[in-house]
Point group: C2
Chain length 157, copies 2
């Protein structure tokens, strides 16, 4: 539904928002390490976001990425639009050339509910909303450490 690129973008932005101020930037290497993403590939994605002024970047020593107050209020749908485009949100889940009430596929009503629900979700949630959840300890943007306390994961040696 969301492409990997898009998910990488969202997670990175949240990570940047969580870890930087206008003073202290964070580099691609560290973002990639912490989120376990391919660094160079991530670079391209962050480039796009920078071009669209969704994040800010500075080259050179002590350079890196940051995100300003204003951009933290950006809704997820904006980022999805930039990276993936928004076609998904009005296309037929059954593969018909177009989704319409007049010529619906057998699951149109059901699909539409979920599609619209997701659209609402992405349209209402901002970067900041996600950061807050993280800072409150109610959500995570990094993978769980599977070797930590070994709750549910099978340890392999």
């Amino acid at each position: 539904m969301l492409s990997k690129s898009c998910i990488y973008a969202l997670r990175s932005i949240v990570f940047i928002a969580h870890h930087t101020t206008t003073e202290f930037k964070i580099g691609i290497k560290e973002i990639a390490r912490e989120l376990e993403l391919p660094a160079h590939y991530l670079g391209k994605i962050l480039q796009q976001l920078t071009k669209h002024s969704i994040i800010q970047s500075v080259k050179g020593p002590n350079g890196g990425f940051s995100i300003d107050e204003k951009s933290q209020k950006i809704k997820l749908i904006t980022i999805i639009g930039v990276i993936d485009g928004l076609d998904f949100f009005n296309s037929c889940g059954f593969g018909l050339k177009e989704c319409s009430k007049e010529h619906p596929c057998p699951l149109h009503d059901n699909f539409k509910i979920y599609r619209d629900g997701l659209l609402d979700l992405f349209s209402s949630k901002s970067i900041l909303d996600m950061v807050s959840k993280i800072e409150d300890g109610n959500a995570f943007i990094q993978n769980a450490n599977l070797y930590e306390t070994g709750k549910k994961s099978i340890k392999k040696y």
Copy 2:
């Protein structure tokens, strides 16, 4: 969410169910033509379904595909499982390695609702349910003819 292969499978099965009896089979060519799908590619998909006994096939003259009464009661989720697998229905929409209540991503609760909703949908609807809708004229499995009455589509000449 559903792969093209999977959508092709679902649409074809419904089409077969709608157009055949055990006596009269339908060939790949015709299915492909009517649904506007690549014939050879569709062949592979129908092969898989045949192997899994979801549809029946007969080679040679007057051969083709058909689907028996029993298989029409199969739920969509079964077909999705065969073609795409069911990983989607318990994976994290945000790209975390695993989806869990204990280590949730910022959109876990929201994603889970939609994911579970779709799972319920696919688990409850059968081929027959879809065929009924088609036969009642309440849904379509073929694309609308864009040059028909020219309601909403822009005609190009």
